[in-house]
């Protein structure tokens, strides 16, 4: 909006056209850089000011989520300091490192809380949080992230399930391979034990199969997982 100051007379060696093109380019770049600096500073300060609160609410959110699958009465240790790191594990469907929380009561192993990914949802991955008790059965299962069709496949998330009295996902509470053997751990449409909604089988199948695979994996690795020192990386 402002015209560049005219400095042509002082530099007769450069032709006016070249000089002004370079001048305009540099000047414009400088203005753009100034705006970038100001607004990056704005974003950086917003980040700096909010980071502690964001981290605290993420932690609280995680604890709240864990509380949904594992009642606080079940354990008396600090889950966040008694966690171990799982490498990407195909049986859990994870493609990056995840944390596994070990719940203990009076020093005795009580339950494991960990993340599982169902890779074959109707529209992409479905992330699940599982609590498996030390004695064997699955305690509870919740969907933490999904992109299933609203109003159709999203009943796997109890918040969206229209059956408020007995949401679909609660079928997986307190159930293990002793009551539903591994070959029955499928949706009814596949000849298994678990219900699904007609017309939206894929989401239910993905969750059911992923939880079955995870439970089988935990049954093999349970004691080793509890024995590992806190904060170490698990190796199969």
């Amino acid at each position: 909006m402002t015209t560049p100051p005219d400095t042509m007379e002082n530099t007769p060696q450069a032709s006016p056209m070249q000089r002004s093109a370079l001048y305009i380019a540099l000047r414009t770049a400088a203005i753009l850089l100034a705006f970038t600096l100001v607004f990056t500073t704005l974003m950086a300060s917003a980040y700096y000011l909010t980071a502690p609160r964001v981290a605290a609410s993420a932690q609280a959110e995680k604890l709240r989520l864990i509380g949904v699958v594992l009642a606080p009465t079940f354990y008396d240790n600090d889950l966040f300091s008694d966690a171990i790191i799982l490498p990407p594990t195909s049986a859990l469907g994870t493609s990056e490192e995840t944390r596994l929380y070990r719940a203990r009561k009076n020093g005795q192993p009580a339950a494991l809380v960990f993340e599982v990914v169902a890779p074959d949802g109707y529209s992409g991955k479905i992330r699940l949080l599982l609590a498996v008790s030390h004695s064997g059965p699955l305690l509870a299962l919740r969907v933490t992230q999904h992109k299933e069709t609203p109003g159709l496949g999203d009943y796997i998330d109890p918040k969206k399930d229209r059956n408020k009295g007995r949401p679909w996902i609660t079928q997986f509470s307190d159930i293990g391979f002793d009551s539903v053997p591994p070959e029955q751990w499928r949706v009814k449409k596949d000849g298994g034990h678990f219900d699904q909604m007609a017309g939206a089988t894929i989401s239910a199948r993905a969750v059911t199969n992923a939880s079955g695979r995870a439970l089988a994996w935990i049954n093999v690795h349970r004691e080793k997982l509890f024995a590992l020192p806190a904060n170490s990386l698990y190796k199969e």
Binding site: M1, T2, T28, A46, E61, R162
Partner: protein, 235 residues
Amino acid sequence: MSAFNDIAKNGFWKQNPLLVQLLGLCPLLAISTSLVNAVSLGLATILVMLLANLAIASLRALIPYEIRIPVFVLIIAALVTVVDLSFNAFLHDLYLVLGIFIPLIVTNCIVLARVEAFAAKNGLAASTLDGVMMGAGFLWVIALIGGLREFIGQGTLFSGIEMIFPSLSGIQVLPADYPGFLIMMLPPGAFFTLGLLIAGRNWSEARANQRRLNQLKQAEHPGDKPAENIPPFAA
């Protein structure tokens, strides 16, 4: 004062971002699956449009015309980032509902369009009002579409409101065994609904024009009968 009236009317109806300018279709498709989602995104959009128009109107003297677009994009993206972070930190419950939608506001061309078409050329007060009114125009249309899609698609209204107000819960409007109407919940449903609303708006505008025309004729030739039976699209 009439200038401010015009700004309000433009945002709400005459130049409505969704019905007339057809801007902001990306968030419309993604979010208008339920009334609560739609209203939430609409409110967040109003906030961002207010901030963006305010920022550009106050900085416009410093922004060279030739590089205004990169600067506008930079400012809008920075503001959305700040809004996103602040919601996460200070309004965490609301953020859990809106969180995934806020970054989508960057993709809403209406923000850039108003900055470019209005805030870059007008004063602070007018630009702020324009941002709010254009945002409000976006809000009421996306809310209407969200409500219609939720009602026809799922037979409910206000589902998900418990995430914002835990004491309330959604209403099952149609019988609980209503099978749903899937296509309304999928993106095509948003296009169908928007198309019908645009058609409705065009129809009512055409009728109003026809009426005005008839009144003019009436004034010129008081003896003539008003041409009432001309269909709205005849001209």
